[in-house]
Symmetry: C2
Subunit: 209 residues, 2 copies
């Protein structure tokens, strides 16, 4: 990615987190990124193009700081935040789900911007396809780790557990970002949910055996 393209996307994530999708104006974004509006239109065609690429940028960034990029073999795999190869599925699962709760500006901004993009889809369907695809990839990744941990559980049960864990993460994240839940307690609740779901999947497996 060129430096200027990256600067525009970083600026877009920042503006969306701070002012919402409704508050994203191309002129303001140009000022934020230190580029001309013409350059923004050259790279992203229109406002929808900016939103789509900002969503992809935010998803990649989350994959990087949670270490999820490692499993997916993306360019960030070798970065400092990536887990060592050979990590067991439980550790990987906890990493992916717990590293969304870190009191760091990048994580806060990323999660806030993701929430704004999702909320935008309530009234405007333009991003639904991309949001749906990003959500489905996330669920699939978590379901694969749950299936590795509980190989005897039915696959559809692992998928439902993954849907619940990722939706819970979004709910807890919203409360944490809004100052309603301390980050440590959000993490503890998330860790507890991982244990509860794995316990349940394990018991399903043993019933079938």
């Amino acid at each position: 990615m060129s430096d200027r393209r990256r600067a525009i996307l970083e600026g877009a994530a920042r503006v969306i987190a701070r002012r919402g999708v409704r508050g994203l104006r191309v002129g303001d974004l140009a000022a934020e990124a230190g580029v001309s509006t013409a350059l923004i239109y050259y790279h992203f065609k229109d406002r929808t193009g900016i939103l789509r690429q900002a969503l992809a940028f935010i998803t990649d960034r989350a994959d990087r700081y949670t270490g999820a990029a490692d499993g997916a073999g993306c360019e960030a795999a070798g970065s400092a935040g990536a887990p060592p190869s050979g990590t067991d599925p439980r550790q990987l699962l906890e990493r992916i789900l717990l590293l969304e709760f870190q009191d760091l500006p990048e994580v806060r901004e990323n999660s806030t911007a993701w929430g704004e993009l999702r909320a935008h889809a309530i009234f405007d369907p333009e991003l639904r396809e991309e949001l749906g695809a990003a959500g489905a990839a996330w669920v699939e990744e978590v379901a694969a780790l749950l299936a590795a941990l509980c190989p005897a559980a039915p696959p559809e049960a692992a998928t439902c557990a993954a849907e619940r864990l990722t939706a819970l993460l979004e709910g807890l994240s919203g409360r944490w970002l809004s100052g309603l839940l301390p980050v440590g307690h959000a993490r503890d609740l998330m860790r507890g949910a991982i244990g509860v779901e794995i316990g349940r999947l394990g018991s399903l497996g043993s019933q079938i055996d």
Copy 2:
């Protein structure tokens, strides 16, 4: 509540759901509710007063359509949506948590506005106290029903389960409202989570016995 006060709060919930807290302008709200801006200031003092009362209005409305108002003995207890007295805790719990997933304009609008008010607290602390109190009352109510169902489970385990179930509800609700999850599947996932948490609390109780 006077008819005009109610009309203003209904208008505020509508505008917040549609345009977010940032999009709530007193002039627009006056037009929406068919009253003067002077009347709005007379009833609510300032913009923060409108937001606070809108939050209380939205919380009461949710209590009414989920039947939670029945247990709390509020004025809506005798309404058509309230559960019959003597309903068992499991039914009450499912009602409170599953009736947030109804494809009705009132429920959609209410949940959307709640999400916007919560997201507003990310940058502005003015509503945090009220949001925290409303959230704590909700968790307490759910925890009390879980404790009634699993009397041998430690109270703090029931509270953590209630925190997870209510946060999951917010996460699933966000996905449903954004068109990323069909309402029936959201309900099934929620029902599944209730079963998983009750199963876990039941096993904790039996370990202690």
